[in-house]
Symmetry: C2
Subunit: 866 residues, 2 copies
């Protein structure tokens, strides 16, 4: 077999990450840069795949090849395996092409045996450390290579501590640990029928087999399935010379970031410990020092560290997170990888790096995780707070809130208006609760999914919401709730984090949104780059103003039904629905008209110069009525029963309402036109009005609605506006050509389009079969969060193609997906004109749109190093 399976870190290798794994390629790259790393070599993923294919047989010649590289390593390091004075010790670490943290096995201190342990004791002057290292090797090797139960070693350690009358491992002496080594060797022999192998070569040969085997453990399989990693790529194995930071006062160990990962400040951030090993930090014996103090005690090593970190940043062009050891004054980098950071730090680092000339504006924009921006746009739980999470629900609307539990909307409205911070806690919310939602600081529900009433309304308001919290139960009569066994009463304080879906008993410190200059700078660059416009979904003047603040270039969806649901209007709306004839309806509508008009006026003024897309009434009428048990008379009860539908999602709603009871849409059109005229007169600027008809499936529907809209408007005043439709039914997608004839614009309603295309009711899918599908990996992503590009997206593509074939028509998206980065990128590729999302997601969408444009021209975020 002439194939090569093993490469030293300093060799030229005919392959990268796929062949050497992420860790291996990082060590090789640092070696090539001349950055000091310990010596060592990598057994390639090819070897692992050959081992698997052969039914877990080591390929011919591999053991010999490894042996040759060990010998070369001995020569370079001047140390030898098993040496009684200063033995060569190595770590054996897995490292696949894709990071799978903690999923596979690692063995440290390999090379120790009964002789070598004395050599370590001698060279470190620390026999306690030597025996502790040896007993750890026996334990790790026993577990990983031989499959001995970890509890047997742990029990022996506990027995010894009890016998010595000590609590902590660190209180054991070198002699105690020597005795423990003997005990561990007995356990090993009992478990395997053989003594612990004294030959380091044998240790190594069996260790890398064990790492290969760990590729196929159930937990690794599950992890790969959950993360979409192929099963057949295998792992590489890195054999790295161990270096010691505990060889006296000129030795040290530490971790640091090239820039502050919380703030982004451009100076080394981290900590170190002199004359110590990483173990010491973990065991809590000593407190590490801030990294800058190293300048005083180890000035040469510190300068070299600063220099090395700078070179790594220049090479990887990104913030680095490194581990290092100083062994007798000599610096070794053990690992470098892209540093995880907060959104604020990411923005600052990006802006600074552009200033420093390290990266271009495009790279800076490409590199920010749009999803992370959310952190900056809502209050958060103080990252420094220690919290105990009592229960989890769905992360339905981001942000954190802390307040008193209230169990009904009236109380929430009353106490909220009084200035108290309250959390509305309900089985689920209904339109009847809207006045309570408006005044609450946050919402927690036991039922409902990501698109439940509570979730949608809360997102629209930018208010935290945790929905579908199974562990919550409520006794409204007794005014008590139970959260995962915590018995609470109305008025007790809880904290919810709608960004993570967590519920915490009691109050927690919150930190405010961290909008800053860096944020504006990066989004300004993004605006220069993107082609896709970003609009917002906003139902009130306040929402519209916020949308403008966040940079929205229009309102893509103004839902008029939310106006119908306001506390003082609902009775009038109900009167309209309960009317026996058109006259009765008209009387009620006449009273609703000025209310809608004033809402529209406020929105038009807030959006001066930008388009406002108003969707006419969409939900089924029964959503405005109470449950039948709460009907106040038999007439109302009968009407509620007659409006009942088996599948309201597919029933009398949207334009089906508007066609059957045209007086409702006519009133809305008249209110829109009157508002536009009033604003034109007041401000001298004509609002850019777009009237949108929901749920159109047939061209004939829109033909009639368009005629009705134009006629009702012409009755009122001369004013320019456009008429368009939601595209939210599969039929509308395939017949987009016919529908386009009567539309000035299309807006894809991807929430309903997902429901109909997939046959998934969003109310019934989450917490039920969809949750099962996601858990079991039948679906990789929740299609209500991330657009199902190959299904729903394909219908959108068909719609775009067919509509464009007959007409150059403006198209956008106003579903929940309009603020989700991958979906925004899809909309860019589809050639849409805009995405519209909740005001709080506008910055996310601006960034995502720019990244989509960059991706098209080949600029993507740099691949993380290390």
């Amino acid at each position: 077999m002439s194939e090569r399976y093993v490469y030293d870190f300093d060799e030229d290798v005919p392959g990268g990450r796929e062949l050497l794994g992420g860790k291996g390629v990082g060590l090789a790259e640092m070696t090539a840069l001349g950055i000091p790393v310990p010596g060592g070599f990598t057994v390639t993923t090819d070897a692992c795949r050959a081992y698997m294919r052969a039914g877990k047989q080591v390929p011919a010649g591999l053991d010999a090849e490894v042996q040759r590289h060990v010998e070369a390593l001995e020569q370079r390091s001047g140390k030898r395996f098993g040496d009684p004075h200063d033995p060569l010790l190595v770590s054996v670490r897995s490292g696949a092409a894709v990071s799978m943290p903690g999923m596979m096995d690692t063995i440290l201190n390999l090379g120790l045996n009964d002789t070598a342990v004395e050599g370590v004791a001698e060279s470190t002057g620390n026999p306690r450390f030597a025996y502790d290292s040896y007993r750890r090797l026996i334990q790790m090797y026993g577990e990983v290579v031989e499959g001995i139960d970890a509890a047997r070693f742990e029990n022996a350690l506990t027995d010894l501590k009890r016998a010595r009358g000590v609590d902590q491992d660190v209180d054991l002496t070198a002699d105690d640990l020597r005795e423990l080594v003997a005990t561990f060797k007995e356990i090993y022999e009992q478990g395997t029928g053989r003594g612990f192998p004294q030959d380091p070569g044998e240790q190594l040969a069996r260790a890398f087999r064990a790492v290969f085997d760990s590729w196929d453990t159930p937990r690794a399989l599950v992890y790969r399935r959950a993360n979409g990693i192929p099963d057949d790529i295998g792992t590489a194995v890195n054999v790295v010379e161990m270096v010691f930071g505990n060889k006296g006062e000129s030795s040290a160990t530490g971790v640091c970031f090239s820039r502050n990962p919380s703030t982004g400040e451009a100076r080394l951030f981290g900590e170190y410990l002199r004359n110590a090993q990483g173990e010491d930090v973990v065991a809590g014996i000593r407190t590490p020092e801030p990294i800058e103090r190293m300048a005083d005690v180890l000035p040469d090593a510190f300068r070299e560290l600063q220099d090395t970190v700078r070179r790594l940043e220049e090479h990887y062009r990104d913030v680095q997170d490194i581990e290092f050891t100083v062994e007798e004054g000599r610096l070794y980098l053990l690992q470098t990888r892209t540093g995880k950071r907060t959104a604020a730090a990411a923005l600052k680092a990006a802006v600074d790096m552009v200033d420093e000339g390290l990266i271009s504006r495009e790279e800076a924009v490409a590199r920010i995780d749009p999803g992370q921006l959310d952190q900056l746009l809502h209050p958060m739980i103080d990252p420094k707070a220690e919290v105990e999470v009592a229960a989890h629900g769905l992360n339905a609307s981001p942000g954190a809130a802390c307040g008193a539990i209230v169990l009904d909307a009236d109380t929430a409205a009353e106490r909220g208006k009084g200035g108290e911070s309250v959390i509305l806690v309900r089985w689920e919310t209904t339109p009847d609760d809207i006045h309570g939602l408006i005044e609450a600081a946050g919402v927690l529900t036991a039922h409902g999914g990501m698109t439940s009433h509570a979730a949608v309304v809360a997102r629209g308001m930018g208010k935290p919401c945790v929905a579908g919290c199974d562990a919550l139960s409520i006794d409204v009569e007794a005014k008590t709730v139970d959260i995962a066994g915590h018995a609470l009463r109305e008025g007790d304080t809880i904290t919810i984090d709608g960004g993570t879906g967590t519920v915490i008993i009691g109050a927690v410190d919150l930190v405010p949104p961290q909008l800053n200059e860096d944020f504006e700078i990066v989004l300004g660059w993004a605006d220069d780059i993107r082609r896709l416009q970003v609009w917002a979904n906003a139902d009130t003047p306040e929402d519209a103003a916020r949308a403008r603040e966040f940079g929205a270039q229009g309102i893509g969806l103004c839902r008029t039904e939310h106006m119908f649901m306001a506390e003082e209007r609902l009775p009038v709306v109900r009167e309209m629905i309960l009317a026996d004839d058109e006259n009765g309806r008209l009387r009620a509508l006449e009273r609703l008209l000025p209310m809608q008009q004033s809402d529209f006026e406020g929105i038009f003024e807030a959006m001066a110069g930008y388009p406002v897309t108003i969707r006419l009434l969409d939900p089924p009428l029964h959503e405005f009525l109470p449950p039948v048990e709460q009907a106040t008379n038999e007439h109302m009860a009968a009407r509620i029963r007659s409006l009942h539908e088996s599948n309201p999602m597919l029933g009398t709603r949207g334009c089906r309402l508007g066609l059957q009871w045209p007086e409702v849409y006519e009133m809305q059109v008249r209110a829109i036109v009157r508002a536009a005229v009033a604003v034109r007169e007041r401000t001298g600027k004509t609002p850019l009005v777009e009237i949108m008809h929901p749920l159109v499936g047939f061209a004939e529907e829109l033909k009639r609605l368009r005629a009705m809209t134009l006629a009702a408007a012409a009755d009122e005043a001369e004013i320019d506006f456009s008429v368009g439709t939601m595209i939210e039914l599969p039929r509308a997608c395939v017949r987009a050509d016919e529908i386009a004839e009567f539309a000035d614009f299309f807006s894809f309603g991807t929430n309903d389009l997902t429901q109909t295309t997939l046959g998934f009711s969003s109310d019934d899918a989450e917490g039920k079969f969809l949750t099962y599908y996601l858990q079991d990996g039948i679906l990789k992503r929740n299609p209500f969060e991330t657009l199902d590009q190959s299904g729903v997206g394909d219908l959108m593509r068909i719609a775009v193609e067919r509509a464009k074939a007959v007409k150059d028509i403006k198209m956008g998206i106003c579903g929940e997906h309009g603020g989700e980065p991958a979906s925004v990128a899809f909309c860019h590729r589809l050639g849409l004109d805009y995405v519209s999302c909740s005001p709080y997601r506008v910055p996310v969408a601006r960034l995502a749109a720019a990244q989509a444009a960059l991706a098209e021209s080949g600029v993507t975020a740099a691949v993380a190093g290390g």
Copy 2:
């Protein structure tokens, strides 16, 4: 202006139906055949269009052109307009290219004036007839041309009868009518300020303008909109010489069919009246004689009639329905058109005409209306019975039934088993009613649409059903019902006709299905012609046997949930659903297995040699549970509540169940395999089994289900079968390529596909917005009855193209559309392999499939003449 607008009936004309209208082309065609028709001419649709375009201005030269044709007509007839002895009288009749019966105006007896009326009195020897004709002209002309209110003429007639003390028009004398003429002329003068025009030329010129104008009346507009007739084609006007059957004993008038329209028997069928005009028949003065008696009294005219009818049949190659007049021994045909006939007559005539060499087998097959075949396959209300319809509902399942009202399923089952004919009358039915449905003769519900539980189950059983009967209300406690004001009690008799949706109080005579030899012959020809296979939807051995009788070539859909709903099984099914864990479910499933197995065995035996497609459990589990109020304990109530869904159509059903609780599908697969083995052992023939997974939207679903199915089957026995899926979600259509990888066959479930593509819940659409859409013409056809070809059909086309691009895969349709002729034709054009429909629709589908094949090769039903 050199354009010609007027053609005599005997001229060669450069245009057909589009130019001359249907009536004009028939008269011209008969003239060309040498068949005696009255003289006359046609003013073309071109003239009408020019008139419209010019804003209701008669094109230059048209009046003169008409005048020339009048003169030619006078010359040919030897009569003259206004002649005091034997004047020329004409009728002026509209006639568009497309028949619009009763929508536009006609004026008879034009040419009468104060002089000519005396001429008619003289030539007919019947002054009463002459004055009656004249007063009718004044009335008709006054209404049509001048827009005088019809009531004014009617009131004058009533006043005269009151003054004379008579009840009937016919009791008025010639003198009375002469006086009435004078009165009518006064009314005319009061209404117009002018005297009734005495110049026949002026009468004619203003009459054809009035006919042109009648094209634009609101009722004509509405009719065209409802029937999809373009507004701009206009109508032609026919000016036809009046002939009189009341000129003595050698004159007569009559109507007849070339063959018996009820039985198809090949002899003249009709009636005549000697010395009479059509008016006399209408006025009921005399009773007409059977046509064959004419042979004795007017032998020459009768022979000529027979000869003429034979020539018309030879020319039009179809049964003719004619009107004729014999004027002084001379026969005139006034109209010929294709004769409407019963299904039985259509079949017999077709078979006879093929025997006679008149038409080919292909023409015979092309000509039968497939929808009409339904008449032959169910009991019908005796066409001779006089019935009074009390109420209408949806024609949910064809056939008629007569029986005692019962208001609950238990009573229906008990009394039905006892041999009584009962009609189950319910607000709506549920799976709990299944035992009652089985024993009832028919079902009547107040709620629910064409795909409500009652409708689907009844169609499956071939049992009459009228659903969604708004006029029905039920008081179950009092055991009374109210049908459109008729107060009835349980036990009272009603009759329902599920083919027309009518409800009749009391018993009506029914006639049995009329299967006969002609039927078998024509369908045999159809089978030779068609490419598309016809399968049936059948859930029981009895259904399967019936499907085979009707010629089904396989079972395309065997719904296993109906097996779960049988009375003795439902408790076990509920036990399964209510089980707390997998073990509990498995215990219940173990008991269901032999029940399902025995059903499958019966179906396999009935279908020996033909494929049987079994769909695994599809409906949401809550369909098997009672309403929460009827829960027998808190555990059951909690389970019912937890299974509740807002939109069950889009919830946990179909393969979502099978993936989440695989033990259910595994049990079904095992039952199928055991049944196949048992039948193979018993009969020596291996059943052709196809296992079908419902509601697949993602390839991953079918991948897992296929693996599960193969594994469960392999556990049982070695047996060949195929695994496929329903295609009933838009996503499945666009991703048919990926899904095909794991499927041996596709079956389009067009009912659910219609619901999701259009966003129409079939339960909520009918009787609600869909009914409104159909009434208002937004939709032309109910998409649950006739496939929405441009929407749902386009997704099917995409699915077929994408699947065929990766695999040659068998495809069929098993929705409700599989037995609807236009939808069958679409499936043929789409290249599907089969359609599957309820057993009773199989003959319809066989015929429709043949017609689709014929249409492809250019053979269509002959266009009706006249």
